[in-house]
Amino acid sequence: MIDYSRYTLDNGLKVLVHEDRSTPLVAMNILYYVGSKDEGPGSTGLAHLFEHLMFGGTARIPDFDRHLLLAGGENNAFTNTDITDYYITLPSENIETAFWLESDRMNLLDFSQRNLDIQKNVVIEEFYQRYLNQPYGDAMLLLRPLVYKIHPYRWPAIGMDISHIRNADQEKVMGFFFSHYAPNNSILTLTGNITCGRGISLAEKWFGKIEKRAVRPKTVPSEPVQTEARMLTVEREVPADALYMAWHTGPRTSDDFYTLDLLTDILSGGESGRLHTKLVRQKKLFSEINAYVTSDVDPGLIILHGKLMKDVDIRHAEESVNKVIDTLKRSCPPPLEMEKVRNRYESSNVFANTNILNKAMNLAFYELIGNPDLINDEVDIYKKIDSMMVTEAARKYLDPSNCSILYYKSARRK
């Protein structure tokens, strides 16, 4: 059971504190509700580039890292399609240093041209290193625009194209700050060796004076319903063919999310998952295969991807995946299999919540989607999912007309 207190400051900043006395550390997480879905199609990658700029210092504290390190702290951040998330862990005696630094950069960032130029280069190198110079690294860059035609989930957080990052200028960046970085657009969570009372009073002391800002309302267009199968084939210099499939689902907050999470675990969780057992072990069609449901705020996806063994025809591989899925649509999973995936969820949940930083990130995300109690309540939601619900969800979502398929083929002679 994760006990927490929740409080909203006058400027709209939401604060959640969970005390865990078993550690000498405190984790501080600040979630800003801004991600790549808040970008325009002509200037993608801006939210993530901005995350880099947040470490460039302010007029008052030009060297963020130095002060945090002196306090024995460690920090990092990530940006995805929905959110930008900054986190720190440090010994609890020095928690005020984290408040001092985070409130300062929420208040006002320094936008030097030099810092912008350098971080643009760093992000371009990141684009190369993680997406373009890796085998299969561009697969999601190809799959997203196939699946989404209108919704900004059609580009990844790194951006649609390197030129967008090259073209980011100071004006765009400053505009981005004032329309998205605001106490009334963020969630502060503290977990670890700190009492709820102290957490909330420190939040008031350090963040209380920052004024509410006019946050740009979200005008994200909703994705039209897909009505027929979509297909894309590419050839790349890779050693093996790979198959990617994606189906539209509902948002993270829909009840079906939990059912689909168990459904994908039946398909590919652990060594005993159906896809692995049938297609990797028995039929030896794939060297690896995986399926999962995305945790997106707006309607998300089930994504399945696998790499093929030598000389396997990719259409045959796809048909074999479909057969496994059809079995799930035809007959309900047996009770023992249902119990297995529920146990796996319960166990992974217990393990995840042994870490204060995980707890801080999860609390913030649950607050964002409207219900922090979910951090404790989801276990019971999963317990209530039965095999009929899984089969119904398979029929509803894993329909060929709702599916986008990417054949990522090896251009080389095998």
Partner: protein, 424 residues
């Protein structure tokens, strides 16, 4: 915007405290068990760690293949049954074969201990190494290998080990596609019989430890003794390559992977704590000199890191980065210039204070929670040390002088002896 913030808070010096040595108990056959009771949740982690890593193998892939085949069927359970039961109990496991050690780490909810230990005994002591499963595994591994060979950082890393340790020692040996055809069940059975023995096993337990743990361990791990004595003779020679510079061509790559380093001391050497500190300054944290210069000042890379690593027979220093093709030489020149600066100019007090505090904060994180404690213990224990190693390290972090650092940089980053590998 002109709001008045409270003044800068005082910073309290970081104190990682002391970690105790875990309780040590011997099973009936002499296998040592280390117990770290910690944490708030009813979960456990058990590391069954054997002296069965790559250093013990006489053929490439033998140690890792033997390890990966442990869950492919045992005397009393098929592979499918093993995995089904483990998944059913929500247990997670990692099989690992490192350069020195190999084994099984298993995470589970404490109340399932009985079944988990029975299966763990089957996995580590009674595997069958069935031929069909082995063939399938080797085909899969060849596919993974071919994909990995497309990554410039893997190419550079492999060649780096070959360059500093030589192709005749498992530490430096390179894998070729033909190696995947050489594995067969009798080879694996021999390697298993010689290396997965109670004499080569230690069990490290952490978490909320079940009251019956020792009884159960004695039942599954405490009764068997090695069936034979294996005389070990080492034909393996560590020998660095004469040619310290290699470029591996990778057509079409848009970035070049760079690895620069050399063989070095390991944890048992008295200079090691000081070398750790030197490494942090050079490239061991986000604010390091390499990061500041090559990423934050010049924007040449997404990341650059340096590391000192301990192996039983040696250790090594390594600097790694990926940079645009056109900036490769510039980045390499800057790396050498940062090393020279450390060898010639004493580190400023301010920078050293930052490094001291960062490292002490890291140690608090290394001692936080049952699993972190288990890992910290293992990484000292495997070198014959105990947790007093960390007391020595903490003391060195607090007392090292700029002159000591300059001297260490001269000794352990001798530019004449550094190997430089690039792939791209």
């Amino acid at each position: 915007m002109n709001i008045i913030f409270p003044p800068k808070p005082q910073v309290v010096p970081v104190n990682p405290g002391k970690i105790r040595n875990p309780a040590r108990v011997l099973l009936n056959n002499g296998t040592p068990v280390y117990m770290i009771e910690a944490g708030t949740e009813d979960i456990m982690r058990i590391d069954f760690t054997f002296d069965a890593g790559e250093a013990q193998e006489y053929l490439p892939l033998l140690a890792s293949t033997t390890n990966m085949m442990l869950t492919e069927g045992s005397r009393n359970y098929s592979s499918q049954e093993l995995n089904k039961i483990l998944d059913f109990h929500g247990a997670f496991y990692n099989l690992y074969a490192e350069k020195d050690r190999a084994g099984l780490i298993i995470f589970f909810i404490t109340r399932h201990i009985e079944k988990i230990l029975e299966l763990a005994g089957e996995i580590v002591f009674r595997p069958l190494f069935p031929g069909t499963e082995l063939k399938a595994l080797m085909k899969k591994r060849l596919r993974w290998y071919l994909v990995n060979r497309e990554k410039v950082n893997n190419l550079a890393m492999e060649h780096f080990f070959k360059s500093i340790f030589g192709n005749h020692h498992p530490y430096g040996r390179q894998i070729v596609p033909e190696d995947f055809e050489n594995m067969n069940p009798p080879l694996l059975k021999d390697f298993h019989a010689a290396n997965y023995t109670p004499e080569k096993l230690a069990i490290i337990i952490s978490g909320k430890i079940h009251g019956r743990t020792l009884d159960l361990l004695n039942g599954h791990f405490g009764e068997n003794f090695a069936s034979d004595v294996y005389i070990e003779e080492s034909h393996n020679l560590l020998k660095a390559s004469e040619n310290r510079r290699t470029h591996i061509k990778k057509p079409g790559a848009v970035q070049t992977a760079v690895r620069i380093g050399c063989p070095a001391i390991n944890k048992c050497h008295p200079d090691y704590p000081g070398l750790k500190i030197l490494n942090v300054i050079l490239g061991g944290y986000f604010n390091s000199r390499l990061m500041k210069n090559i990423r934050e000042d010049k924007g040449l890379t997404y990341g650059i890191h340096s590391m000192v690593s301990s192996l039983i027979l040696s250790g090594f220093n390594i600097i790694s980065t990926e940079v645009s093709k056109k900036s490769t030489q510039k980045a390499i020149d800057e790396i050498y210039s940062e090393i020279r600066r450390l060898q010639s100019e004493p580190v400023e007090k301010e920078e050293l204070t930052i490094v001291r505090n960062y490292m002490l904060g890291e140690m608090v994180r290394m001692f936080d929670g049952p699993f972190a404690l288990a890992e910290s213990f293992r990484s000292a224990w495997e070198f014959g040390l105990d947790t007093s190693y960390y007391d020595t390290l903490i003391k060195k972090i607090r007392t090292i002088t700029p002159d000591e650092i300059t001297a260490l940089a001269g000794t352990y980053y001798n530019i004449e002896k550094l190997h430089e590998i690039t792939a791209g």
